[in-house]
């Protein structure tokens, strides 16, 4: 059995661990959407 692990996070943090945070310098979208 083979697992293929694909990473696509530019931060280098472990996205596959589901702990990848992306911290945009301008977080307009996430903050705006989260406040709705």
């Amino acid at each position: 059995m083979t697992i293929l692990k694909i990473d696509s996070s530019i931060t280098g943090e472990a996205s596959v661990s589901a702990s990848l945070p992306w911290r945009p310098s301008r977080s307009f979208a996430s903050r705006t959407l989260a406040s709705k």
Binding site: M1, T2, I3, L4, K5, I6, D7, S8, S9, I10, T11, G12, A14, S15, V16, S17, A18, S19, L20, P21, W22, R23, P24, S27, A29, S30, R31, T32, L33, A34
Partner: protein, 159 residues
């Protein structure tokens, strides 16, 4: 590596092959893209695929899109039959570890990460599973809660 660790704990001895699309990016798809057959072969040879996918600007990273462009190949992972497109990769398990900076409803006009991956993998016959960390960029509390939620979902993954 929580997802991989969980899978290996459930089924010890599984081989893990890693492809880091940031360290070794694939080029944009061109007419000569079929030269990247090794990417498709690697996918076809895997039983389980774990995809780390952050949402950037409402969709998946372009690095991941380039990879998907190599695995959605007519005649290999899907075909057009008498009843329309038919997925040919249905025997595989795909788990997507998705992180998003905010909170998105599945039908949000801004949500093109989970919805895209569901459609793309669905097109080749796979229903992907998701473990999700949301609200990562909202604030420290939301970030912590989002990660905790994602890790809890990892622990609930079926063997």
């Amino acid at each position: 590596m929580a997802t991989i660790a969980q899978l290996r704990e459930q089924n010890p001895g599984q081989q893990v092959i890693e492809r880091d699309l940031v360290a070794t990016p694939l080029s944009h798809l061109t007419l000569g893209g079929s030269a990247d057959a090794d990417v498709l072969d690697e996918f076809l040879a895997a039983d389980t695929i774990v995809v780390g996918a952050p949402m950037y600007n409402f969709t998946v990273p372009s690095q991941l899109k380039a990879w998907i462009d190599r695995i959605l190949v007519a005649g290999k992972t899907f075909r057009y039959g008498a009843n329309g497109p038919e997925g040919l990769a249905g025997g595989k398990r795909v788990i997507v570890a998705l992180s998003r900076g905010g909170f998105y409803e599945d039908n949000s006009a801004f949500e093109h990460a989970k919805s895209y991956l569901q459609a793309a993998f669905g097109f080749i016959g796979i229903t992907p599973e998701f473990v999700t960390a949301d609200g990562i960029a909202v604030g420290p509390e939301q970030r912590e809660a989002g990660i905790a939620n994602g890790l809890a979902e990892v622990e609930r993954l079926a063997a």
